[in-house]
């Protein structure tokens, strides 16, 4: 892996990312101006995409504010999905939102974390019609509850399933099998 990174000259990489970096700085400044610096933690640029973490109390207000904002017009919800981090005590569940401005071509990734014991997140169905099924999918896969959702029921799995299969505790193969131990191949 090490020589892979070295094979790309650092300057070239910086030059390619330059317009994106400028845009991200502009976007971050806007976020700070609209919602205050305290609202965001873990600001990073992951492969040119600005990624910020916020809280589930603030996420609805932030996405609503960005939707209304005329300067950058981040009013397209590209996708949202749940992620399960069993090792992170107290912030096991996560939802990742991808927003896109079709007029300015700026993307933003927003994340929220919350404990698995209290898997509740605000619904975005009042802002985006497309959030309906995305949230149903997150409920189906991870058991995240969205209070206020018009029709929060399973979407892809059968209705009488009694667990949420994308959580990490459900191994893809039968955990009791001895003949196919995964000792040598990572997890």
């Amino acid at each position: 892996m090490a020589d892979q990174n070295e094979s790309i000259p650092a300057q070239e990489q910086a030059a390619a990312q330059d317009p994106a970096t400028q845009q991200n700085a502009q976007l971050l400044a806007l976020l700070h101006r609209l919602f205050g610096e305290a609202a965001f933690t873990d600001v990073e640029e992951s492969y040119g995409l600005l990624t910020v973490t916020t809280t589930r109390e603030q996420i609805h207000g932030i996405i609503a504010g960005l939707q209304k904002d005329q300067e950058l017009q981040l009013n397209f919800l590209t996708t949202m999905c749940g992620v399960h981090w069993p090792e992170q005590e107290g912030r096991e569940m996560s939802i990742v939102y991808h927003l896109h401005s079709l007029t300015r071509n700026i993307r933003l990734r927003l994340k929220i974390f919350f404990p698995i014991a209290d898997p509740v997140a605000p619904t975005l169905t009042d802002l985006y019609s497309c959030a309906n099924w995305m949230e149903r999918e997150a409920f189906d896969f991870y058991g995240i509850i969205f209070p206020g959702h018009p029709n929060l029921m399973r979407i892809l799995n059968v209705e009488d399933m009694d667990y949420h299969p994308m959580r990490k505790e459900y191994a893809l193969e039968d955990g009791t099998r001895e003949d196919k131990t995964d000792l040598f191949f990572g997890r």
């Binding site: 996708t79 999905c81 992620v83 399960h84 991808h98 079709l102 990734r109 019609s129 497309c130 997890r187």
Partner: protein
Amino acid sequence: MAVNDTLESTHKIIESAREQQQHLNPLAPTVNDFNQELTTLNLGPTHPATHGIFQNILQMDGERIISGVPTIGYIHRAFEKIAERRPFYQITTLTDRMNYCSSPINNFGWHMTVEKLLGVEVPKRAQYIRVILMELARITDHLICNGILGVDTGAFTGFLYLMDEREKVYEIYEEVSGARLTTNMGRVGGMERDFSDIAITKLRTWLKTFPTVMREFETMFNRNRIFMDRIVDVGAISAERALNYGFTGPNLRAAGVDYDVRVMNPYSSYQDFDFEIPVGTKGDTYDRFMVRNEEIWQSLRIIEQALENLPAGPYHADAPHFYLPPKQAVYQNMEALIYHFKIVMGEIDAPVGEVYHSVEGGNGELGFYLVSDGGRTPYRLHFRRPCFIYYQAYTEMVVGQTLSDAIVTLSSMNVIAGELDA
């Protein structure tokens, strides 16, 4: 008056018959409730006109649709879960089976996502080959959609002509990858093999013959009075609603928004080509049909340019950590054997990070959100499937319309069950 009286007496007869029936067998189900004004209609799950397995429970007032409840998930195969246990190169076969009408786009979209994560630069020739194959895939995808729209309005001929052309494209796929429908095409880092001479010949022949067939198809449909009467102003959606519903691709462009990933975030050297993005005005079925037709022509333009300017050079990146060495070298060269072993056994560590990459699929923005924890498999892989997101709007689009309108709307939205359910 007379009609009402007759109706009333009929109702009385039915009522008494039912009472009698219940008296005889209180558990017997009442089959027809004639007092009810609305009918419940099950459209699907295996209705021939839905072209895929999904159900819509429609409430009908006569022939008008009052409300609908879509049920999906009939062919859910838990790709996102399976992907968490597979090395990157084995996930290509999962992407094949999402939008199986345009598998190469899904394959290359996934490869580009991994390349972005790994920081692998793909040579120009491989990028151009990818563009050619992706545009061929887009053409086949649109051919199926528009051909089926013809079938659903009662014109089978156009579909038959187009299927013939799709067959020829599949023969080109065969030359390139050995497979036809689920192509499993390409590798992380480029293509698994170069275009053969036969592939180039087949492609050139097809590029000569296809426009004639396409023009014939357009002559048959574009201004056909019967066809237009069936689809103009049917299943329309405004640009605002379409954006709110997360529409992308031809369906969004038909509503008048010129969003195309190929232009906005060019990948695989799309910036080198000269092509136009067709947009509609009303977002109805006719606009969707016309946008797809025009996109076929634009795709042909791109293919011709790419074939004309196909650069010489390697067809895959020099990334031995991720790109399988040629089989002959594995037997003769120790490094190749080591790399082969490490790649196949998943011993290669990927960088830690998260990456989102999207390509313009047959139906719109096909996105891959990949979270890597440095292991051999993705920690989390989320597919942004355009069908899954825009199919939510179907109910809103067909309410107030007739059943036959609902069928053509569904058909023109090009909902692919594999992509819908993943």
